[in-house]
Symmetry: C2
Subunit: 89 residues, 2 copies
């Protein structure tokens, strides 16, 4: 079961990397850029049978290691969420 985890800085936290990338893009002429933030995507493949089981276990991984709960929020997406849309692209 493939699961995608998105780990992002919480809204109030200054995103230094994002600000630097935004400034660099503005320097390249991308003036239409209103906001840019950088986070992590973690693609996990777990042996769990059901999306619900996988989601639960990956949630534990996030709380124990993948995300820093002081600074970061995480979102878990299973392939069930993603596959039909990706196929459509």
């Amino acid at each position: 079961m493939k699961v995608r985890v998105l780990v992002r800085l919480k809204p109030g936290i200054m995103d230094v990397q994002g600000a630097a990338v935004k400034r660099a893009l503005a320097g390249l002429g991308f003036s239409e850029l209103k906001d840019l933030r950088v986070g992590k995507v973690i693609d996990v493949d777990v042996a769990d049978a059901t999306p619900q089981e996988a989601r639960t276990r990956v949630g534990e991984m996030c709380r124990q290691l993948l995300a820093n709960p002081i600074l970061e929020d995480y979102t878990i997406e299973t392939v069930d969420d993603l596959a039909p849309r990706e196929a459509g692209r």
Copy 2:
């Protein structure tokens, strides 16, 4: 228009960070982990009117700055792709 960019190492490229995280999780008892890879998510808000325009401009950003074409692949997802699914969660 909000656009999400996922930047990941190409399949053949060794993911040192992912391997380290995978080993750390195995040490915490997550033995069901088959594979784990770490990439970047870049959340961009651009002033373009249509999803198609936004996708084109963000594609240019990826080619010029956001992704290293030697090592990395990128995927662009517009909020149109994502919103109904996120609302359903």
